[in-house]
Amino acid sequence: MQNLTNRATKVNRNPMTFGERIYLPAIAKGLTITLSHIFKKKATVNYPEVKRPFSPVFRGLHVLNRDEEGRERCTACGLCALACPAEAITMEAAERKPGEEHMYREEKYAAKYEINMLRCIFCGMCEDACPKDAIYLSETVMPANYTRESFIYKKESMLIPDTKKQHSSN
């Protein structure tokens, strides 16, 4: 029979020789391998104290961005939800009322913006799709939790804090 690849090796079915049957050479060989591991570098780190550095392209939890004046950038256009392959993003748009110009950059804003972190695959397509630079993936790992509800992140928890602090509300 012709082999499909040249990687096939023939299994040795010969009965064990005397040297193999007394097992001792094999045991000695095994012991040298395991004992040599005493001097090897540990493959693990002390996790909570020591953390491995993330790669520069790491994609973690989402952040909703504000503009220079501290107004929400998101206009609820829905392109992120459309781009999302996992269909994790839901939003509801609302119209900006007069007097709310300091809160929302454009006339339309997201009244509700939710990401289901259990569905999210952290591909970053929402970040690519956003025309307003409103959504970013940060370097934070998603924390574990007990209930499914707690994994649906609301707009309030994703919106970065207002750096200007000029308004007491929001």
Partner: protein
């Protein structure tokens, strides 16, 4: 009333010695569980337990507490008395063998009083150890049978048949040693290995057979197929929980300590070490006794570490391979070893 006139000082001395040995073997067994996890971690490039205390040295205490606080479950259809008796026998027999091991040379006080570091110098010391070790099989058998679980029973039968098979080869390898010493007393055997005159040099094959059999007797990897704790379930102590399970697990570690001590005593000179006469002349007797005890403990710890290295190196034997090795290789080898030893004693030494 003459029978009741015993030496109070002797009694107190022995009680103190027994307490120290019991506590010592429990303590070493406790830290053997920790050391086992550390050794496993090191061999697999991991870190091992390091949360409870510095280097995780409080880990055995935490494990013990956990076992105490676990729910105690006795199966509904089990034989309650035997179910409780099983782990008791396992623990009791594990602790009993240490009485005949001489932990150090006799210490003679300045007033001429001799303090022996052996609890009981019975003239059939080796036989006593073998008897108690065989009783330990009852712990497994009774535990497995009383659980009313067919898998426990099967596993305990496997464990028992393995222990009995390997006891034969072990016994025959010991006979060769006893022919050399002419005594069954552990004290005499150690005394004959004074200095560097260790029996492993005269009986290398016997030692090897004894070592392999000790692995099998202890139900340890590569012969731990009665348990298969790494991938199947727990074997004969499947139905056990809480501290009764702890007793079974713990008795295995005590057995490991004791069998290491027995091997060190029989083949590696016990508390003897090279140039011990020069050391004895140079230091005071109490310090010399302490050095001897430390030497024995060092040998024991080396053996325990060796047991662990083997466990994390070798894969498990199949049951037929195990029986083949025991009956078709080790017993003939032990017999040949015995015959050669006998011939050498008869024609060469005399």
């Amino acid at each position: 009333m003459l029978l009741l006139q015993f030496d109070t000082a002797f009694l107190i001395e022995k009680v103190i010695l027994i307490t120290i040995i019991l506590m010592g073997s429990l303590g070493i067994a406790m830290y053997a569980t920790w050391a086992e996890r550390k050794v496993a971690a090191i061999m697999q490039d991991r870190r091992g337990p390091n949360r409870a205390g510095p280097f995780g040295i409080l880990q055995p205490v935490a494990d013990g507490l956990k076992l105490f606080f676990k729910e105690e479950i006795i199966p509904d259809r089990s034989t309650r008395f035997l179910f409780i008796l099983g782990p008791c026998i396992a623990m009791l027999t594990a602790c009993m063998t240490s009485v005949v091991i001489p932990w150090g040379p006799d210490y003679v006080t300045s007033s001429g009083h001799v303090v022996s570091l052996q609890v009981a110098d019975i003239n059939i010391g080796i036989l006593f150890i073998f008897g108690i070790v065989s009783l330990g099989v009852y712990g497994m058998m009774i535990g497995g049978w009383a659980s009313n679980n067919k898998f426990s029973l099967l596993s305990s039968i496997r464990a028992a048949s393995q222990a009995i098979s390997y006891e034969l080869a072990m016994g025959i390898s010991i006979i060769a040693l006893v022919m050399l010493t002419g005594s069954l007393s552990m004290r005499d055997i150690v005394a004959q290995q004074h200095g560097m005159n260790w029996f492993v040099i005269k009986q290398p094959l016997g030692f090897l057979i004894f070592l392999v059999c000790a692995f099998a007797e202890l139900n340890r990897a590569p012969f731990d197929l009665a348990e298969c704790e790494s991938e199947l379930n727990m074997g004969f102590h499947q139905e056990y929980s809480s501290m009764k399970l702890g007793f079974y697990l713990f008795s295995e570690y005590i057995n490991m300590f004791i069998s290491s001590a027995v091997m060190a005593t029989l083949y590696f000179g016990g508390y003897n070490f090279p140039f011990m006469d020069q050391v004895a002349a140079g230091v005071n007797p109490l310090l010399f006794t302490a050095i001897c005890v430390l030497v024995l403990l060092t040998k024991v710890i080396c053996f325990i570490l060796f047991f662990m290295f083997i466990r994390w190196t070798l894969p498990r034997f199949r049951y037929d391979q195990l029986m083949n090795l025991g009956w078709k290789s080790l017993i003939p080898l032990a017999l040949v070893n015995m015959l050669i030893t006998g011939a050498v004693i008869l024609w060469v030494i005399k």
